[in-house]
Amino acid sequence: MTATDGPEPYTGALSRQPRNALVVVDDPDAVELTGPVFGTADVTEPDADLTRQHPGQPLGERITVTGRVQDRAGRPVRGQLVEIWQANAAGRYAHRRDQHDAPLDPNFTGAGRCLTDEQGRYRFTTIRPGAYPWGGNSRSWRPAHIHFSLFGTAFTQRLVTQMYFPGDPLLPLDPIWHAVRDAADRQRLVAAYDPELSVPGRSLGYRWDVVLDAGPR
């Protein structure tokens, strides 16, 4: 653990937190050492391009987000499902509980999915999401982020997390980013700008690699 000068970390509602310590399951026959599989029936090709899901182009800065999914031993996670969801360029989710008074974009839903390839790579085209206020405190804004959901080959590798953008001035103030207490671990949630990944004249490239757990010992 690293001491930080950051904000009070988000802990979630107390009523939703476990009261007992987590139990480590150490069963070599556990069903969770395997996991669900997905295929071409579950994902269509346009699902990975969030800028082409409507008749017109969404507003905002078009980006390409790509990276490798691997396990802790460095093995690529192949053919597995990656799902994302995010706010539009104005910081508004296409979700009926989002009360943020920013415009919806008729050309942007903000949900995407793809399967990792033989090298464990995923790739999305989308727009950079906007910041949005939260927590009832109008001065507290979430930094731009994309929600990610990933599956490994074992159900224990299931991961839901958030990807952030480098250099965002809201990051050092964000209680949710600081819910990850270790400073080096927090940086693992921040993508890198990589012009090599930019599509010339079309999108800015960001690289974000993901390491899934290895499952029960």
């Binding site: 979630g12 069903v31 969770e32 994902v43 509980r97 949900a111 159900f155 299931r158």
Partner: protein, 135 residues
Amino acid sequence: MTGRRTPPQTIGPYFGYALPRPDGGRIAPTGHPETITVHGRVLDGQGEPVDDALLEFWQPAPDGSRTGAPGSLRREAVGGAAVGRDGVAFTGFGRVATGADGGYVLRTLRPGGVPYLSVCVLARGLLQHPSPGRT
């Protein structure tokens, strides 16, 4: 040599238009005579219903196989609409969002070889790695 894993973060309140899919809780093939219904509610520590949880289930097929099958989250190939399951394949995977009363319903077949279903509970404010538990 092992690296550190990418840390988890809260799923937040807005996954509803991205993750749940039609027929998510209907693992059993359509009309299968041995279909079982597993149902219940997700409650918080004060007994209040959790209306924004997502439950995921993973299990062996009745014959004990653990390979699973694609097709839990099917989309129509041309138009891209979420069309639900084909009602034939047993995928072993279910995904159900809770309702306003915290309730969920899963229709499946008994797992072969083990007396449990693996469950992953995701909800706003849960910060731990979504470690699967068992029912």
